[in-house]
């Protein structure tokens, strides 16, 4: 596996797993607006994951679906930050959202400069959508920044951003949930 495809797989895993975690707020967010926001962000992140997996599948095969769902939980390379199940902790959720979107902005900016035109083009397309995630994170950061609980969550979660590839029970549980239909219904796709 080349470094490049490994990097793409990391991003795809991050977006897929975070998308699932964000969707856990669907129906139970503290306000209707946030229910809609986190559901919509989840939908975008999973769409980005699919596009990255499709790119990775050209080298690794066979398809985006297989890469997303048929690897073992210990083969995922997502950040520890996105694996955590944070519902119903709103302060920690916003802290993760802010940390992730800030780091993701840098990563996308670098990918937009890639010599590989497909990677650069996809990164630029994704960036147009991510701009709205960043605005949402910014809005909540401004609202919560003086809250001690929020600051504590930021301090606690920040070091987890760069932890990858250490199998956790939380990811294994999420994987069970995420792949249940696929494993039980022949031919099931996204």
């Amino acid at each position: 596996m080349t470094d490049q495809v490994q990097k793409i797989l990391q991003i795809a895993d991050d977006e897929l797993i975070l998308g699932w975690r964000n969707s856990e707020w669907t129906g139970i967010a503290p306000m209707l607006e946030e229910d809609v926001a986190f559901s919509s962000i989840a939908q975008n992140e999973i769409g980005h994951a699919r596009a990255w997996y499709e790119l990775a599948a050209r080298e690794l095969g066979p398809t985006a679906n297989e890469l997303a769902f048929d690897r073992r939980p210990d083969e995922y390379r997502c950040s520890r930050l996105v694996e955590l199940r944070l519902v119903p902790d709103w302060a920690a959720t916003i802290a993760r959202h802010h940390l992730y979107e800030t780091a993701d902005e840098e990563r996308i900016a670098a990918l937009k400069q890639s010599d590989d035109t497909e990677i650069a083009g996809l990164a630029a397309k994704i960036d147009r959508e991510e701009a709205y995630h960043r605005m949402h994170a910014q809005m909540w950061f401004e609202r919560l920044q003086d809250e001690p609980r929020f600051q504590e969550a930021l301090d606690e979660l920040r070091p987890l951003l760069d932890v990858r590839g250490e199998p956790t029970s939380e990811l294994a549980e999420l994987w069970e949930e995420m792949t249940m239909v696929r494993r039980s219904v022949a031919g099931a796709t996204w």
Partner: protein
């Protein structure tokens, strides 16, 4: 709006009416013309905002007719939009109905932006109660702009509108509120 002025109809390849891609099938009484394909695609409504067609939306980048094959380059709007598969299948069905073999190629690059929505499409959105997207500026949209009153209510035309939610019922929409006619409305996001 520079992109719109370059592609005023969203159909750059047929604007001169003399397509180099129209080939005769030899036996058929009328060979399929590129324009017929564009016309057929222009009848497909957006699955989630049916007031606007796929051609109005600017997601069809090119149409090439070669013998009995029609190749369409299709650029998704939002990557997580569940309507994409529906759009792709609808295009394939329309082209099959014209008696040709459809090849729909999904292009995952950065060539679609809301500036690709045609002027006619923008007007249809407005008439349907969706505020059309603001033109994209260099550097993309900013929170301070969304929170400003630079957006016009599609019902009464007032600019006295406020951001209610950056996100809405589909990835492409935000929700705003008009303080003048007291009507909430959906604002197409600029991307």
């Amino acid at each position: 709006m520079s992109e719109n002025s370059k592609h005023p109809t969203g159909q750059p390849r047929r604007t001169h009416g003399q397509s180099p891609h129209v080939l005769k099938t030899g036996t058929a009484s009328g060979a399929l013309k590129e324009e017929q394909v564009w016309d057929a695609l222009a009848e497909i409504p957006d699955p989630e905002i049916p007031v606007i067609s796929l051609v109005d939306l600017g997601v069809i980048r090119s149409v090439d007719v070669s013998r009995d094959q029609v190749r369409v380059e299709f650029t998704p709007t939002f990557l997580g939009c569940p309507a994409l598969e529906v759009m792709r299948d609808a295009m394939a069905a329309r082209i099959s109905a014209l008696g040709a073999d459809p090849q729909i190629e999904v292009i995952l690059d950065d060539s679609w932006s809301t500036d690709r929505i045609t002027p006619a499409g923008r007007e249809k959105l407005r008439a349907g109660g969706f505020a059309p997207p603001a033109p994209r500026e260099v550097g993309g949209p900013k929170l301070v702009q969304l929170q400003s009153n630079a957006f016009r209510c599609p019902y009464c035309g007032s600019q006295d509108t406020a951001l209610e939610n950056i996100f809405g019922p589909t990835p492409c929409r935000s929700v705003r509120y008009c303080r003048s006619c007291r009507q909430p409305f959906e604002q197409f996001k600029t991307i």
